[in-house]
Amino acid sequence: MILEKDNAATCARMAKMRLTPQEEALYEEQMKELFAWVEQLARVDTSTVEETAAARAAYLRPDTPVTDEALSNALVGQFSAEQDHCVKVKKVL
């Protein structure tokens, strides 16, 4: 388990969040404590667990496409503006 020195700042950037210097310092400290606690998981023998166990356990529906015009219209209709059956959002820049 690798916890880099600037982990909080890096992860915040990856998550498109901006931290204050105080938040960075607070999270660096709290991350150290939390991941030291989580480290106990590394000592558990999981050799009997296949990597796909979680996927097998998921309830998956058949992969068949469904067209629902009424739902599509209802979803687009939720927004205040649309064009060509596409939702129009605020101009970002």
Binding site: A8, M17, E23, V44, T46, A54, Y59, V92
Partner: protein
């Protein structure tokens, strides 16, 4: 005074009580107590009364009414109710109005319940004390200086104070059961997939589950009957039919096998340990058999929970970028800055969980951290599956402590995380869990007892809890 879901619904259906009277009583209690308790962040009195009057008019015409007729209900602020705000108690969504009904709201309305308002919660359901809400903390009705628990603290406080006989919450790591324990009421989380998550703002999609808070077990059973069931809008919802939970209580619990997990009471507060052991003795005196079981990996539930749910949260909350909905800042100069400014309103705990999740999912950490947590979760599930081959239900405390004071643990978040030990096992294992009161500590604070049962066998935990509640 009529208080329970069962009492109100049956009285309204039979005509001995009008829906309007039931709702007026609820609104009166809310007006009286909510300024001190802050259980509700918004109430809709005119709409609730109008709906109650419609229900009464239908009854007067001889039309059949639903199983929750006239019952005033609160819904947690992360459950969508069309045309009403759903803010997750976050500045991020402070003006967000739900464009559609969640499935659980549709079911409440179809059952003729009356939704009176949205309840307080920890921001985006991340927390165990209802202190991170943008609307201010909720207060425990038993002691106003204490937390009601979280994240569904508002719902728990609303029921415990008598404002409503039932409220919906969501439970990702104990957020229905723990506040139920702190406030001295009943809180149920059915097995994962039993209740549709469609229209419930996602925190951790593999662990989130809608739960109910009520004053008694029978009322919780009726609520579950209404809310459980397959939903094609939620592909993780289960196909299996829903039993009539409130009709399936046995006459006694002779022969019920109650699992006592090895080591579960170690390092526990002495007063709570005493109450749990007394409860076990009580069950034994009622004819139950106490059976030792071993769930050796369950002690890893809390670290597993924090890694897996934070990873899922970092993904789920990526949608809050202010473009389609949510807080949108007008001062950005480029796209990156737009995103950063739009996501600035997240509170400290939310940001932290996103960072935890992102850390666990970083390429260099993924295998050792996230993937390992998923594998350990599988081991925990297997432990419980093995245990349930020997017993019907498993008994644990709901929480290692009673309700703490507002502001406690402010500088010690790990203390709060460790408090989820007994409840998060249920979410990690996908189990059904119920918390019922089992007495008070020396300060008069409620202690919660928890029963776990396997998924798709909620009737077992309801039955055990029902008989324990009657005997207490």
């Amino acid at each position: 005074m009529i208080k329970t879901v069962f009492d109100i619904a049956d009285a309204v259906r039979s005509g001995t009580l009008s829906a309007r009277e039931a709702v007026l009583e609820s609104l009166g209690k809310i007006k009286e107590l909510n300024p001190q308790i802050n259980a509700f962040v918004e109430v809709w009195p005119e709409e609730a009364l109008k709906r109650a009057e419609e229900i009464d008019a239908r009854r007067a015409k001889g039309e059949p009414l639903g199983p929750l007729a006239g019952v005033p209900v609160g819904i947690k602020d992360n459950i969508l109710y069309k045309g009403h705000k759903a803010t997750c108690c976050s500045k991020m969504l402070e003006n967000y109005v739900a464009p559609y009904n969640s499935t659980v709201v549709e079911k409440l309305l179809a059952a003729d319940a009356v939704i009176v308002g949205r309840t307080n919660m920890d921001e985006f359901a991340m927390g165990s004390s209802n202190q991170t809400s943008v609307y201010g903390p909720a207060h425990n009705p038993v002691d106003f200086d204490r937390v009601p628990g979280g994240s569904s603290g508002g719902s728990a406080a609303a029921v415990a104070s008598g404002m409503v006989p039932a409220a919906l919450g969501t439970d990702t790591g104990g957020s229905v059961r723990q506040p139920a324990a702190f406030c001295g009421i009943v809180g149920v989380k059915p097995g994962y997939g039993r209740i549709s998550r469609y229209g419930v703002v996602a925190f951790s999609s593999g662990a989130d589950q809608v739960g109910v808070l009520t004053g008694d077990v029978k009322s919780a059973a009726r609520m579950l009957e209404v809310l459980c069931g397959r939903d094609t809008n939620d592909s993780t919802s289960l196909e299996e039919p829903v039993p009539a939970f409130s009709q399936q209580f046995t006459s006694d619990i002779q022969g019920l096998k109650v699992g006592m997990p090895k080591g579960f009471l170690d390092d526990l507060d002495e007063e709570i340990k005493e109450k749990i052991l007394a409860a076990a003795d009580k069950l034994k005196s009622m004819g139950a058999q106490l059976v030792d079981v071993d769930v050796p990996h369950a002690k890893y539930s809390a670290p597993c929970y924090y890694i897996i749910t934070s990873a899922e949260a970092s993904s789920n909350l990526a949608r809050f970028d202010g473009i389609r909905y949510g807080y949108n800042d007008k001062n950005a100069k480029d796209l990156n800055e737009q995103y950063e400014l739009d996501r600035a309103p997240f509170g400290l705990e939310v940001k932290k969980r996103i960072i935890i999740g992102s850390t666990a999912l970083r390429a260099e950490n993924y295998k050792a951290c996230y993937l390992q947590a998923v594998k350990v979760r599988e081991l925990i599930k297997r432990d419980f599956e093995e245990a349930f081959k020997k017993v019907d239900v498993i008994l644990t405390p709901t929480s290692p402590t009673t309700a703490f004071t507002l502001g406690a643990h402010k500088d010690n978040p790990m203390a709060v995380y460790l408090a989820d030990l007994y409840t998060c096992q249920g979410n990690i294992g996908g189990l059904a869990g119920i918390s019922v009161p089992c007495g008070n500590d020396k300060q008069g604070l409620p202690v919660g007892l928890q029963f776990y049962g396997p998924i798709l066998q909620e009737e077992k935990i309801l039955n055990a809890a029902y008989h324990f509640e009657k005997a207490l």
